[in-house]
């Protein structure tokens, strides 16, 4: 077990994380200290960048937690014998929902909640349901039937089988789903800026509107690096939960 724990964090991950953080900090430093003209100088500041990052993270974290909180229980319920027959139907509905462009989903919620951060969070929540739900179902259904039979033979209750056997064995697959969902969410949270939700998309829109590449590229680089970072972090969690 200890050997597995050691190997969960790979050396190339550490190098990549250091590289990403130095690019992010270095580029922010460059834009603020060497602005291309007065407009960039007046517009950019460390407080502004940090505020945009915090807002972005807030949207991503809240919507992802909500998605995990709904999808995992729903996935578990759909694998129980009573509700098993609904699983394909639920999956196909959510699958078709996934073909709607993320931008349109964020925009459509404006009609319901008005502009602001709540709209963005709700839209991202809906959009990240599928990967987690899908992987929860696949993970639990994929558990070897003979293991469950053995547990039944030992006299375990269905509830105990679920929490002691099925969920721990399905955990890596579930984490993979969460990993996909969070990575998508970091990208989709950029669209929050279009509906007044703030976040790093604000920098992209501002940079595009005033036609200054420094603001634009900073706004684009930071979420990209954030997505890569979260992918690495969840990759480590995924390897750690693998029994």
């Amino acid at each position: 077990m200890t050997k597995l724990r050691d190997s969960a964090i790979r050396i190339q991950d550490v190098i990549l994380v250091v590289l990403i953080l130095s690019i992010a900090i270095g580029f922010s430093y460059y834009v603020i200290n060497y602005p291309q003209d007065k407009i960039v100088e007046r517009f950019m500041s460390y407080e502004k960048i940090i505020m945009a990052i915090t807002q972005h993270l807030k949207i991503v974290v809240i919507s992802s937690l909500m998605a995990i909180g709904t999808s995992v229980p729903l996935g578990i319920i759909l694998t129980r014998p009573k509700f098993k027959k609904f699983a394909p139907r639920v999956l196909s509905i959510v699958n078709i929902g996934q073909t709607i462009p993320s931008l349109a989903i964020v925009a459509l919620f404006v009609g319901i909640l008005g502009i602001g951060i709540n709209t963005a969070i709700l839209a991202l929540w809906i959009y990240s349901l599928l990967p987690i739900l899908n992987n929860t179902l696949v993970g639990i259904i994929g558990v070897d039937k003979s293991i469950i039979e053995a547990a039944k033979g030992m006299g375990m209750q269905p509830k105990r089988i679920l929490f002691k056997i099925e969920v721990p064995l399905a955990l890596p697959v579930m984490v993979a789903g969460i990993r996909t969902a969070v990575t998508i969410n970091i990208g989709t949270a950029i669209f929050a800026a279009f509906v007044g939700g703030g976040g790093l998309g604000d920098l992209i829109i501002a940079g595009n509107n005033v036609n200054r590449w420094q603001i634009l590229v900073l706004g684009a680089t930071l979420p990209a690096l954030m997505a890569i970072l979260s992918d690495i972090a969840f990759g480590i969690v995924e390897r750690k939960t693998t029994i």
Binding site: I105, F191, A224
Partner: protein, 206 residues
């Protein structure tokens, strides 16, 4: 109902934008399938190259689409060409990955026996490896195409035109009907094309 009336009144514009969207995605997909399959085949001959290319592809896939398009603006400007370039960059990654896994997962004994029969390297690739890897490659192409159609909507932000333009206009004017119509058309195209490709895949599978 109001949305339906709205759509019927403006069906010519909507149809034009749909065709535009289709054109952009089609151009991008033709380029990206050609490039993806070529790169995928090439890296099966060299393990180190494969490792590097696949790692880069994995990292690229996590970059948000709008961020990628925004980074392209200072480099390539705005308009249809950079949009297609962005789409190609993004959509060829699943294709490369699936071509590689498809070819590498073929049973070695089959390739051995083909070699034993005296087939040349290029013959083995075209007569044995590619046909056997076809279902996996097709899955990659389907994933890439579905991604590409959705991304095409976002590409409107850098001036590609297409249905994304309708959605962006809807956002700017606060017109829900336009957003809804754009979204529905995009998902209709996605579902139709995906089903079509699934049919092709079934039809030509060995």
């Amino acid at each position: 109902m109001k949305t339906l009336e709205f759509a019927i009144e403006r069906w010519e514009t909507i149809l034009g934008l749909t065709i535009d969207h289709f054109e952009i995605v089609l151009t991008a997909m033709v380029i990206s399938i050609t490039m993806g399959v070529l790169v995928g085949i090439m890296i099966t001959y060299n393990k180190t190259a494969a490792k590097i290319v696949l790692n880069i592809a994995n990292v690229m896939m996590t970059i948000p689409s709008l961020a990628l398009f925004s980074i392209l603006i200072p480099l390539l400007g705005i308009g249809r060409a950079p949009a297609i370039a962005g789409l190609v960059l993004y959509t060829q990654l699943p294709i490369i990955r699936n071509v590689y896994t498809g070819i590498m997962n073929i049973e070695p004994s089959i390739i051995e026996s083909a070699r034993g029969m005296g087939l040349k390297k290029s013959k083995i690739m075209f007569k044995v490896k590619l046909p056997l890897a076809f279902p996996v490659i097709m899955t990659g192409v389907r994933t890439a195409t579905v991604m590409g159609i959705g991304l095409g909507a976002i590409a409107a932000y850098i001036g590609a035109g297409g249905l994304g333009q309708y959605i962006f206009q809807g956002i700017n004017r606060g017109n829900d009907k336009m957003i809804l119509i754009g979204a529905i058309m995009v998902s209709v195209i996605t579902v139709v094309i995906d089903r079509g490709l699934a049919f092709v895949q079934k039809r030509f599978e060995i």
